[in-house]
Subunit: 449 residues, 2 copies
């Protein structure tokens, strides 16, 4: 059997490796349009924070290992441009423009996603940079090495923007952030957003709300830009990082007539099959089922990509695999804060037909009288009709990142708030109050549902 | 209705407060034999570590608050000595030896547990100290303030012993630990125990295994002791901390003919009722159901005590409450390590009729290439017959304490290893590899079951 994979990052290389482990006789061909495979994209902001670190530190497994040790036919510099479902072929061209075509028995589309760019004058200036691929990371680092960057503007306040704010602050760069909307973390209650806002401002980051960039101009070639914002401010800066979201790379799938899911992602079933049973999709280009709502969602994150890649490999090698989907768990660090979420937002819960109720509490990361305790804020959501736990959002200086996994598991298990409240969580004074902040949140929320 | 409570710490005062909140008309009387109520016993090792801190910092809520603000009839210095179930009365004596008796409609036994003392010559010397009550904590601190303590011996290597090893090391005291058995953390695999052993030894703690104390002698009155160990060693030290376990204070319950549970604890149902429907028991004196095995267990810990106290109050005020029980989650800190467990050990799993399989893995606390990653060791247990997750044991420098709550929730939900493996856990490079160490452990274990 020939298993062809388009895209050589998390989902693609996970699928390639696992397919070969499951059955060494399978002929696995991976087409990757860049020279990079299998790298930790999420590590880029932390790498950029350290001028001395090589971006290639983020490579998880070298191309040579895949090719020589794992016997995977990895073809870099190969861009697939079209899928011919009738002939079961992919067409493309190499970096030297030479065309190629290859037949497949099973095909995996793992083409990832691309960063959005603002559709405004000046968006293509060399100092306006996005961060998605390792090549993007190198471009930012090279730009910073070859230009004096004292002041940077970050467009967007999502997790890429916030992680880059930390990264650049670490490099003593004056950071400004701007977004069209009126608040930070709009998906949760204001208290949590305010805690992140205070942290950013206390570390010198300037936030501009209701401020969409409308025009970027170079001040002198390669040195400094002027950015006009929709709130009539004008900012000068040396570099602009664009973190206004990503879009799934699903054009080829769409052109091949495959069904699409939310936000233009490629719709897949629980075995990662697209609407063509010989074609799978996985990673940032594909959708997933949300375990809490049962509905299709597009939440492109690293764990899902790896897991989906494995599932594809297991499925094509004969395992009757079905993976349940995601519950929307995510975590990021912003300076000294940890921000985590799992499950739904109020809006998502309403749209899914729940009758959501939320409650936010303030607790502490350590026991009563234990030194060094930090504030933890939790917003918890439940369904007034069924008493089910629907989501948890959390911000704090310590004990947030890993704490989110307990409610994530509870969401997978379909627990009610009352059931979650009875869970036997760990207690020792250096790590939590005797009633864990999550239990305190559940206990308060249950009074409302 | 008169609700009488014997014992004024976690379970007793939780029940008293909640009963009054639920129904202010209830007459709540609490008898506490000491002068201390509602304190964080678990905080004592950390308080002892700081000579300048007052032991009373650990009081969570003052007696006056319970009496004046909450209208609870709290009688300190009152020791209840007997329960007359026929007459529905308790008998006792005050600290001035004056007898008292009081009738009850509902009674809660929340008498806690007492530390074991070794039954050897010299165990009653003033420098041989236990740590359970706040009074014990004061006694240790006073002893250290009034005697030169350069070298301490800790008998036992359970969590009290290990927390005290940290505490005394923090005070620059040379610490020796001795236990009768051959290894540290005998409930899990050797790799985890060895990691803790290495940490203790690297910070100067000397461990003596197969070494039961057989005789303690004073060298000169109040200054220095000689301890003979069963391995023929003889140690000199200035203070001995005894941490060889605790026993439930269930004598009164036994004398009153109530049914007992494991280790002589008081047997209770899921509403905390003893075999007498008007008498409840909660806290360290009472047993609980283990959610994984369905069997009675005695795992005296703080969260259960608080939760059981609340359940009693809810039940006597008319709520049809049933709490499922415990899954054996516990965490403690030893110097720079976090040690956590949830669920069963191999021995417990075998005794409960499972066909347990275990597997231990080594992972990291942060992503590939992220600076500052620390080793995390996980031993995970599953049932070969059903594929169910049975337990997780974990040791590491960071990210262990809160990470244990995810499998704890999975145990409450009765998840299989395969289901747990599909949970959507949080990932960001500062906090974990993309495959969380717990998922790596589940993925390896599943190959064995």
């Amino acid at each position: 059997m020939r298993f062809v994979i388009i895209g050589g990052d998390a989902a693609g290389m996970s699928a390639a490796s696992k397919a070969k482990r499951n059955d060494p006789a399978i002929d696995v061909i991976v087409f990757e349009m860049t020279q990079d495979v299998s790298y930790s994209a999420c590590g880029m902001p932390y790498n950029i924070a350290e001028p001395g670190r090589d971006m290639d530190d983020l490579v998880v497994r070298k191309a040579e290992v895949f090719m020589e040790k794992q016997n995977i036919d990895l073809r870099r510099g190969h861009m697939v441009t079209a899928i011919d479902r009738g002939a079961k072929k992919v067409h493309g061209k190499k970096s030297d423009n030479e065309p190629f075509e290859v037949e497949y028995d099973k095909l995996l589309i793992a083409t990832g996603a691309s960063p959005r760019k603002p559709d405004i004058p000046g968006a293509d200036l060399p100092g306006v940079l996005t961060l998605k691929s390792l090549e993007d990371g190198r471009r930012i680092k090279d730009y910073m090495a070859s230009h004096p960057v004292n002041k940077a503007l970050i467009l967007g306040m999502g997790y890429i923007g916030l992680e880059m704010a930390e990264s650049l602050t670490h490099r003593n760069i004056s950071v400004h952030m701007a977004k069209p909307g009126p608040k930070l973390l709009p998906w949760t209650v204001e208290t949590l957003g305010d805690m992140v806002k205070d942290e950013l401002e206390s570390k010198g980051v300037t936030l501009h709300f209701d401020a969409q960039a409308t025009r970027i101009e170079e001040i002198s070639v390669g040195y400094g830009m002027k950015v006009a914002l929709s709130n009539n401010e004008e900012l000068q800066c040396d570099m602009i990082i664009v973190g206004i979201g990503i879009v799934p790379n699903s054009r080829m799938a769409r052109d091949a007539g495959l069904e699409l899911g939310p936000s233009g992602s490629i719709a897949v079933d629980k075995a990662m099959r697209t609407s063509d049973p010989d074609i799978y999709a996985a990673g940032d280009c594909a959708d997933a089922f949300h375990v809490v709502t049962g509905e299709r969602v597009w939440i492109p994150l690293g764990l899902r990509a790896n897991r989906a890649g494995w599932a594809v490999a297991d499925h094509i090698t004969g395992e009757d695999v079905e993976i349940p989907g995601v519950v929307g768990t995510a975590v990021f660090k912003v300076l000294d804060l940890e921000v985590a979420r799992t499950g739904l937002t109020m809006k998502e819960a309403e749209q899914a037909g729940f009758k959501p109720v939320q409650n936010d509490i303030k607790s502490r990361s350590r026991a009563h009288a234990h030194p060094g305790a930090e504030r933890i804020l939790i917003n918890m959501l439940g369904d007034a009709d069924t008493g089910k736990l629907l989501g948890v959002h959390m911000v704090g200086k310590e004990g947030v990142a890993h704490r989110i996994n307990a409610p994530a598991v509870a969401l997978h298990a379909g627990m009610t708030i009352a059931e979650f409240l009875q869970c036997d969580t760990a207690y020792a004074p250096p790590f939590s109050p005797v009633w864990d902040p999550l239990l305190i949140a559940a206990n308060e929320l249950i009074k409302k549902v």
